[in-house]
């Protein structure tokens, strides 16, 4: 057996984006010894790509905003499938978490009277997103990173975790390798927090980086945890569509928040046609009212005008764009136009600096002069590991999860800006609970050496196999299946085919072979990522097949209506001896007080 280095901790945090960093800080400040592991260099995690802002009812721009309105918007946006307790905790605590970031050195954009400026976003009744231009994620990750480093915790950069080591029904360690030299590492820990983000790489067109291979989802699933709501994959309405190399790259919703108008090739502002009837009253009736709203938003002041139709929720805008293109009203490159060029160029450059650079440098397009071309791109996992709302504990003792890898908070559709706030609210809760859990255990637990040896053998196998499947080919085939059969619109036939195809790929993936040794070898990395993506893909397809209705981001052509009976159900998957079990579990009920809040006509509604 190859010797591995051993680093024991009270709390091990896997993933160093917003949730992982916030969890690590909290656990460390609670007195635990903390190790933080990340697949990339510190500060490069996916949070860095978040652009638009962090949602918190600070009420700096519109004083009518409260946690109640934020809670209601989140539940309405999630089509009532959210875990109501999580949505409430999130809405109540995010203002404090944002102010805490400021105390830790973050420098948000300011209102005229010097307070944190907030911008409007889809599905939010009031301007609610604290932001820094369109690089809010960078500000957040740098602030948390500096704070984490200052606490003196250990950071293990460029380490991939491939196995959780269970012993007697508890998680006792994590096993993996250092990417720089390929050496194995064992992290015995009393508590482990998964903060590994999502799985957009199951699709070819995605805004996600290579890191998003569903590692935490798959690790937890194999350890016996439950994954819920996996059928809900967010397709962000606006990714770049041209040139080919940048297809899928995110175009922030802040473009629409600042007044961006969507038009089809005929010049029609088509979003008016796609507003759901029961929400139409929340949106501007015509271009004049939308324009008045944009003028107020640009000046950072409240208005009685209702928001433009482009600020409908993401699931709805994605379906609209997809339908326009499908019905022949798309642009030359298969997208629609997103136009912000009617606003003063200086204003656009100041509010959307990285979008300006991105289009200028990657597509030769000056967004202050002409419209962008955009189309849907795989963006976010609403589904994830089932957690306790208050403690972020999974169903496996010793294992916690926060951020995108956790399920429940966003229901069937996440509102823009609610992810960054999710990270800091539940990252903090996970860190506190993990530290408390660790404090109750007497010493570092015994780690089953047989399990460790098994993990090591699995690491070495693909390099020893003389001939086998190429992980790059398998990924390409998986992405083709997921994109064509488990995309924005779904049918029973497509989903059954996808489940079968993913099954065949999984069998082929048992015999992957790569060359080139263990030091920084991307082909070897891909072997383990692909195994995780296969688990996640099967979970998405099976959950999507089980939910026989359309709700939020899950649109079934064969069941086009939203069925109230399904609001009472979260689909869950768990590992069984003979494969993946799919079960219907009861949706946690809303309290009477929550019902009252949801029924309120929102301030901006």
């Amino acid at each position: 057996m190859v010797a591995h280095r051993i680093y024991p901790y009270d709390v091990l945090v896997i993933g160093a984006g917003g949730a992982g960093l916030r969890a690590a800080i909290e656990a460390k400040e609670a007195g635990a010894s903390v190790g933080l592991v990340c697949k990339s260099l510190l500060g490069k995690a996916h949070t860095v790509m978040a652009e638009g802002g962090v949602a918190a009812a600070l009420a700096n721009v519109d004083e009518r905003d409260t946690w109640r309105t934020h809670f209601r918007d989140t539940m309405v946006g999630g089509k009532m499938l959210n875990n109501p307790r999580m949505a409430e905790l999130h809405a109540r605590e995010s203002p404090d978490r944002v102010r805490e970031l400021e105390r830790w050195g973050a420098v948000f954009d300011r209102t005229d009277d010097g307070r944190i400026l907030q911008r409007p976003f889809g599905g939010h009744s009031h301007p609610r997103l604290a932001h820094v231009g369109d690089r809010t994620g960078l500000e957040m990750i740098r602030t948390l990173q500096d704070r984490a480093v200052a606490t003196g915790l250990d950071v293990h950069m460029e380490v991939t975790i491939t196995h959780l080591v269970p012993t007697a029904g508890r998680i006792t360690a994590a096993y993996g390798y250092r990417r720089l030299d390929g050496t194995s590492v064992l992290f015995p820990a009393k508590a482990i927090v998964l903060a590994t983000g999502g799985f957009g790489r199951a699709y070819a067109i995605t805004s996600n980086s290579w890191e998003y291979s569903g590692d935490g989802h798959a690790l937890a699933y194999r350890a016996g945890a439950e994954l819920i709501d996996m059928e809900f994959v967010q397709f962000h309405p606006t990714g770049m569509v041209w040139p080919p190399g940048v297809r899928g790259l995110l175009v922030t919703e802040a473009v629409r928040g600042e007044g961006g108008i969507l038009r089809n090739r005929d010049g029609e502002r088509f979003m008016y046609r796609y507003l759901p009837e029961d929400r139409r009253h929340e949106y501007a009736a015509d271009d004049g009212e939308a324009r008045r709203w944009v003028e107020a938003a640009s000046a950072g002041r409240a208005t009685d005008a209702r928001r433009p139709p482009e600020l409908s929720t993401r699931d709805n805008v994605s379906r609209a764009i997809y339908t326009e293109v499908k019905e022949g009203r798309g642009t030359e490159h298969g997208g629609v136009f997103l136009d912000i060029s009617y606003l003063p160029p200086d204003h656009v450059r100041r509010k959307l600096p990285s979008m300006y650079d991105q289009f200028k440098e990657l597509a030769d397009v000056d967004i202050t002069k002409v419209a962008m071309e955009v189309g849907p791109t795989t963006h976010y996992a609403m589904g994830g590991i089932r957690v306790d709302p208050d403690t972020a504990a999974t169903t496996v003792p010793g294992l916690f999860a926060a951020g995108e890898v956790a399920g429940g908070m966003h229901g069937a559709n996440r509102l823009g800006g609610n992810s960054l706030s999710d990270l800091i609210v539940f990252g903090r809760r996970a860190g506190a609970a993990a530290a408390a859990h660790a404090a109750e255990l007497p010493e570092v637990s015994w780690v089953d050496p047989v399990r460790v040896a098994e993990a090591e053998r699995e690491l070495g196998e693909p390099l020893e196999l003389a001939d086998g499947e190429d992980p790059y080919r398998l990924r390409e085939e998986l992405q083709a299946t997921m994109g064509s059969r488990v995309g924005i619109f779904r049918t029973a036939g497509d989903l059954e085919t996808a489940i079968a195809e993913v099954g065949v790929l999984a069998r082929r993936a048992e015999r992957m072979a790569v060359r080139g040794g263990r030091a920084f070898n991307p082909a070897w990395d891909l072997v383990f990522e692909l195994r995780n993506l296969l688990v996640v893909s099967e979970a998405i397809a099976r959950s999507a097949a089980a939910r026989k209705e359309s709700r939020g981001a899950h649109s079934r052509l064969d069941f086009p209506d939203t069925d109230p009976a399904w609001a009472a159900v979260n689909i869950a998957v768990r590992r069984a001896d003979d494969g993946m079990d799919v079960v219907s579990t009861p949706h946690p009920p809303t309290s009477d007080e929550q019902e009252t809040v949801i029924a309120l006509a929102g301030g901006g509604g």
């Binding site: 990339s40 420098v107 009277d113 704070r147 200052a150 040139p243 991105q358 440098e361």
Partner: protein
């Protein structure tokens, strides 16, 4: 379809360095990183390349393209002369790991040696009020994506021109962001002069030229910090005060040391 030729550095510290050539089919709008990904998927699956976002937001994919430090994710093939092969090499200021990947951990050690953000002990009961124009400058510094291209191009670090360590442009920018932060209370001036070695920078502005975030590193960060150091250390009254107060600070790590 037209194809372009890449000449890619391959090797480890133990192996004989060499260049491998690949012909890659070119698509409209393709960037250098796209071409490297094509090579991984079709010709050299184990080619080591560090990257993450492919959107110029994370700063992972720095390399030297035809000798210039660049982010490969925003270097378009159409902006390079394609008659000859495009040469891609790892950043030269840092120890080689494999192929295009270098060990940049030294930067993280330098970062740790800087006194962290230090807010006042008694925050205001409600919240701070800062005018936008007062935080514009700090926000410019906080745009840094830590690609370390400025460290790579800095001749003081690149050619190891000095025996003692120099923190480099990236960390002068970070320190400037802390020193000019509206509520930071710490003092890093002596650190800049002594451990940080700010005097070694002779403002050739190479760092500013390669910054993908267009931060005016030399003009807005380094020169104002140099002025603060000069004000304290070359003003007779300040010198006296410093002698009374004593010194503090930590040594910088040495490049490439484990």
């Amino acid at each position: 379809m037209r194809s372009i030729r890449l000449r890619v550095f391959r090797g480890t510290p133990e192996s004989e360095p060499s260049f491998a050539e690949f012909d890659v089919p070119a698509e409209e709008g393709m960037v250098v990183l796209d071409a490297l990904h094509w090579v991984q998927a079709h010709a050299a699956p184990d080619l080591a390349v560090r990257w993450n976002c492919k959107a110029a937001k994370c700063g992972s994919c720095g390399a030297e393209v035809n000798g210039m430090p660049r982010l490969t994710c925003k270097t378009r093939l159409s902006d390079l002369p394609l008659e000859e092969a495009i040469t891609i090499e790892p950043m030269r200021a840092f120890p080689l790991v494999r192929d295009l990947v270098t060990d940049v951990s030294w930067n993280y050690e330098v970062n740790r040696s800087i006194v962290p953000f230090s807010p006042p002990a008694d925050p205001p009961p409600e919240e701070w009020r800062w005018a936008q124009q007062d935080v514009d400058r700090v926000q410019e510094f906080r745009k840094c994506i830590e690609c370390f291209l400025c460290q790579d191009v800095c001749h003081v670090l690149r050619n190891h021109e000095i025996e003692r360590p120099f923190m480099g442009p990236r960390f002068l920018v970070r320190t400037a962001g802390l020193e000019m932060h509206p509520i930071d209370t710490a003092d890093r001036i002596d650190y800049l002069k002594d451990e940080g070695g700010i005097g070694f920078c002779n403002i050739t502005k190479c760092c500013t030229e390669v910054c993908p975030e267009h931060i005016a590193i030399t003009d807005n960060a380094i020169i104002p910090l140099k002025e603060r150091v000069a004000d304290r250390h070359y003003d007779p009254l300040q010198r006296l005060w410093r002698r009374v107060r004593g010194r503090r600070g930590r040594d910088l790590p040495v490049v490439g040391a484990d």
